[in-house]
Amino acid sequence: MLAKRIIVCLDVRDGQTTKGVRFRDNRDIGDPVEMARSYYEQGVDELVFYDITASAERRGIFLDVVERVARVIFVPFAVGGGISTVEQMREVLLAGAEKVSVNSQAVRNPKLIAGGAEQFGSQCVVLGLDAARDPQMPSGYRVFIDGGRLATDLDALAWALEAEQLGAGEIVLNSIDADGSQDGYELNLTRLISGSVSIPVVASGGAGHPGHLQEVFEQGLADAALVASMVHFGTYSIGQIKSYLRDRGIPVRLE
């Protein structure tokens, strides 16, 4: 049986991992390469690195981090943040990432998803989708871009389905309402999207306790769950989260 994946998310700014709440108040919490190595040793299933500076002149620092990460971990990892061209996708894949995550730039230019899927295969192209509750939208959720700062006219469910058609191989679904709260994932949003697309959906935003992962796998139908604060600050290890889930009948990779 396919295991539910636990994915650790690292936001990287100027070569350092940072963590904020609701996209704000970021503070440095460590070296991303050393953190990646530690999570690998703890048995993490996958990692995702977001370049949260994403400025042209700092791009080299981030690519260097990606290259060094690729040399020390032997599980898949994705990279995102400010990627706006197929050429930039190629850069991070050649630096050693398995997957590239596109978000705001894919909203502005949906051909980016199709172009990436055609060049590198759908399995390489992840759509990052930031959504917030909005009763005016058909699905009840609106897509936001630029780190949650800019509202779009897109309905979250419609955009997820369109991205799948364009060739996205996976969706990392981030709830802006839940992000950083540690009060649990947005189950309704996750179930809505994951139950509607046929590609894997990674739940993101709100994890604070292993029980939140159990909920999002069982009730939210998530294929994988992103964690950050609950492991970055040493509250839980990957092994503790997986043991908790295994004891409650969730299939996880625990060896």
């Binding site: 299933d45 032997f74 898949p76 295969g121 590609i199 294929d223």
Partner: protein, 205 residues
């Protein structure tokens, strides 16, 4: 560094993760798309992600299909990974592609079902069907990382050395004589995968 080990570059996806895993294991190797170098290798890895038709066209245009065929017939150890595990069969359902035909059988597409998404992406258990040097030191039912929408369906059951369950059971690893191949990605399967690669490097079929 010796080029006894060659990783075939036929433009089917990113070879970077295979490269870093082999470097981590301290293996000397060369990445090559040259039919001459492939034919002269002592040990061969055929990796690949992507689409079967494009991969076969690239192999045939470059003459690598003949080089890999000659290498295999000479009895030296060959490991296929992911797409490299599919193109060794007779044919693939993916755009009705004629493949290398080292093993009898076809490559089929997973049918999506409720709770079973396609691609099959993530960590799944591989259950051994028979012992093989590739699995030495690895536990039966160990997890490996998969990402694929198509899976091999060998004509002969005895070539299956490892099975995985995703809906129906499918062949996750196959072997015959000097040929071995896995549908999963050992280079991305943490310590189990590194062990399997190390086993291949010392395999004397």
């Amino acid at each position: 560094m010796s080029a006894d080990l060659v990783v075939v570059d036929y433009l089917a996806g990113n070879l970077r993760s295979v490269e870093t895993a082999l470097q981590h294991l301290g293996a000397g190797f060369k990445i090559s798309g040259s039919p001459g170098e492939v034919a002269a290798a002592e040990r061969l890895i055929v990796p690949g992600v992507g689409e079967a038709r494009a991969a076969m066209e690239q192999l045939c245009e470059s003459g690598l299909d003949q080089a890999i065929d000659g290498f295999w017939r000479a009895g030296r150890p060959l490991l296929g990974i992911c797409l490299g595990c599919q193109i060794i069969f007779d044919r693939s359902e993916e755009r009705s592609t004629h493949c290398l035909g080292f093993l009898g059988g076809a490559v089929r597409r997973f049918t999506p079902a409720p709770g079973r998404k396609v691609p099959h992406m993530g960590w799944n258990r591989v259950f051994f069907r028979r012992s093989h040097p590739l699995f030495s030191g690895i536990a039966d039912g160990a997890f490996f990382y998969f990402v694929h929408s198509y899976y091999p369906k060998p004509a002969e059951a005895e070539v299956v050395i490892g099975e995985c369950e995703y809906g129906p059971r499918f062949a996750a690893a196959v072997a015959r004589d000097n040929l071995a191949a896995c549908q999963f990605h050992p280079e991305k399967s943490a310590e189990n995968g590194l062990k399997l690669l190390a086993n291949f490097l010392s395999w004397k079929p």
